[in-house]
Symmetry: C2
Subunit: 342 residues, 2 copies
């Protein structure tokens, strides 16, 4: 890692706004996130004028454990915020990075997370241009929390919003359901559950969504990533915001057998499990098959499928046609059996 | 507060991404922060095209205690991020709000902070347009941490940066030094120190800086708000980034007697105390007196004064001419005697 022995652990000095803080930021972050917008370390980053509407989003990440199969808190923090921009049809331009660190955190863990953030930002092509680091005394936080905010540009003519839902639209899910949520749960030692086939689906989706939006102008009405609350909650939110009913076919929903099995074992409905690499896409019915084909060209969309349709009916209602031929209403998550999932 | 008895305290459900979370956000935040950009609660807020360069900044707030004379964590979170935009000469357009809450936090405390955020955003004329709330289990965080990020627009022709420092420039401080830092320290019960005359200086400075920039086109070379690390650290950073030397006259620095007294009592040099409502302004010497006069027209700039000048000399060096006729070098803060000051 190339850091001094005196930097084995995070100390309160590292959050002081003084020399130690600057040194930490330079060694841990600037070196890895190297880009001309970040380098001046001024109070704000300055980006060139953008030709379109501005998308702006924020998310904090408090996942426990910090590392899990398929990802870690840093990867989530980059991909999650990139995806929040992508869900409005925006091209992500830049991210901010706000770290809250617990005094005593091993510097090696921080460096691993910083590596992960840098790699994810590089892969997504979205630079981290501004940041902030705070350190709180031992016991005042659990290891590390990360906030990423993001800015993006929405091209003229792109209008992605649940308000555009229409009766007859097709509902597409771009990836199998529940992988992230079940993986983080399995990774928590206290569950005594080992799931070697389980892996978070965390991925940045902006290139895939941009390709679909560009190829089918106007046909993509709404996008939503089913993170906390899972597919059920995201579908309910879409139906409520769009003022229409959704009809979902359980049998069409991609769900990997190990996720299904682990969900059954733990008594958790995969419909409520968080996803970090999939999106729900509501598109014009006539284009649905072609959109699915386009999604499947992308690694993140390999399991994309039409899972249902929009109906005029009871606004906000989501009806599931179950695999065994029944019908049940999908409701949004009410409690939280799964704290600190992202 | 108009909230149900079942909402006396924050629960893990409130961070679930499900119904309880949505209810919390609606009652506590949307109702107070009411604005058309926030209302849709989609993955990103969408702002109209902006005519200029984009300024983007982030800051997390972890201050302890949450409430102190003159302010609270919510007020700091709004003003601090507005100021980070103002320090680049940007007009602040919008804020994001990322809350990390500890399970069990009294809802009344959260409501007070939400009130404060709403009032500060209203006063600053900068809406909160997007947000996120996470809840972590009891003991995994200390009550409440807030991240605010901000976007702003920099008008054509405005170029504020320490790289513009020139030998001969005047260095102005817009307000008395150390009020925020000493107040938060005094508010910490464990210090057994009561300071009734002490009050945080937290204030949004964007209107004042914009007025100066507009009235003296091109004359404002650099701005910096001396938050964590205090005036000493901010001056050193300016000198280092500008590659020039600064000469500061101690006697010219506005410092309120109770702050001086409390600093002496606690053995803390006011040069290292955090400020949340002042800025250092480096301007062309010929305009310095007029800039000070303009600053004094604003309530936040009532004590503005020229405190020194830029010299060609040793890049990064800051020399203080002390009140008793000596000279000493000002250094950036190295340790952190004051954790969780903002």
């Amino acid at each position: 890692m190339g850091i001094d022995e005196d930097m084995e652990r995070v100390t309160l000095d590292h959050g002081s706004g003084g020399l130690a803080a600057r040194e930490l930021v330079r060694r841990l972050f600037v070196a890895r996130l190297d880009n001309p917008l970040l380098a001046p370390l001024e109070d704000s980053a300055v980006l060139p004028p953008i030709g379109g509407r501005l998308a702006f989003t924020t998310d904090s990440y408090v996942v426990d454990p910090l590392f899990f199969p398929g990802g870690d808190i840093g990867l989530l923090a980059v991909n999650g915020t990139v995806n929040d921009l992508a869900m409005r049809g925006a091209r992500p331009l830049a991210l901010s990075l706000g770290m809250i660190l617990e005094e005593g955190l091993e510097m090696e863990i921080l460096a691993r997370v910083a590596d992960s953030i840098a790699a994810a930002a590089e892969r997504a092509g979205v630079p981290v241009v501004t940041g902030d680091t705070k350190v709180v005394p031992r016991g005042a936080a659990d290891k590390m929390f990360i906030n990423t905010s993001g800015v993006g540009v929405i091209a003229d003519g792109v209008e992605i919003s649940p308000r555009r839902l229409q009766g007859g639209d097709a509902v597409i899910l771009s990836a199998s359901m529940g992988d992230h949520g079940i993986t983080v749960l399995a990774a928590r030692a206290e569950l005594g559950f080992s799931g070697t086939e389980l892996k978070s689906d965390t991925a940045a989706l902006h290139r895939m969504t941009a390709a679909v939006i560009a190829r089918f102008p106007g046909a993509v009405h709404a996008l939503r990533d089913p993170t906390r609350g899972g597919v059920a909650t995201a579908l309910c939110e879409l139906a409520a915001a769009g003022g229409l009913e959704l009809e979902i076919d359980e049998i069409a929903i991609p769900l990997r057998p190990p996720v299904r099995a682990a969900g059954e074992l733990l008594g958790i409905d995969p419909f409520f499990l968080a996803n970090e690499g999939s999106c729900i896409m509501v598109v014009e019915a006539a284009d649905a098959a072609d959109v699915v084909a386009e999604l499947r060209r992308h690694p993140e969309g390999g399991q994309a499928a039409v899972i249902g349709r929009v109906k005029s009916g009871e606004p906000g209602r989501v009806v599931l046609h179950t695999a065994v031929g029944g019908r049940r209403r999908l409701r949004p998550l009410t409690g939280d059996p799964l704290p600190r999932i992202c």
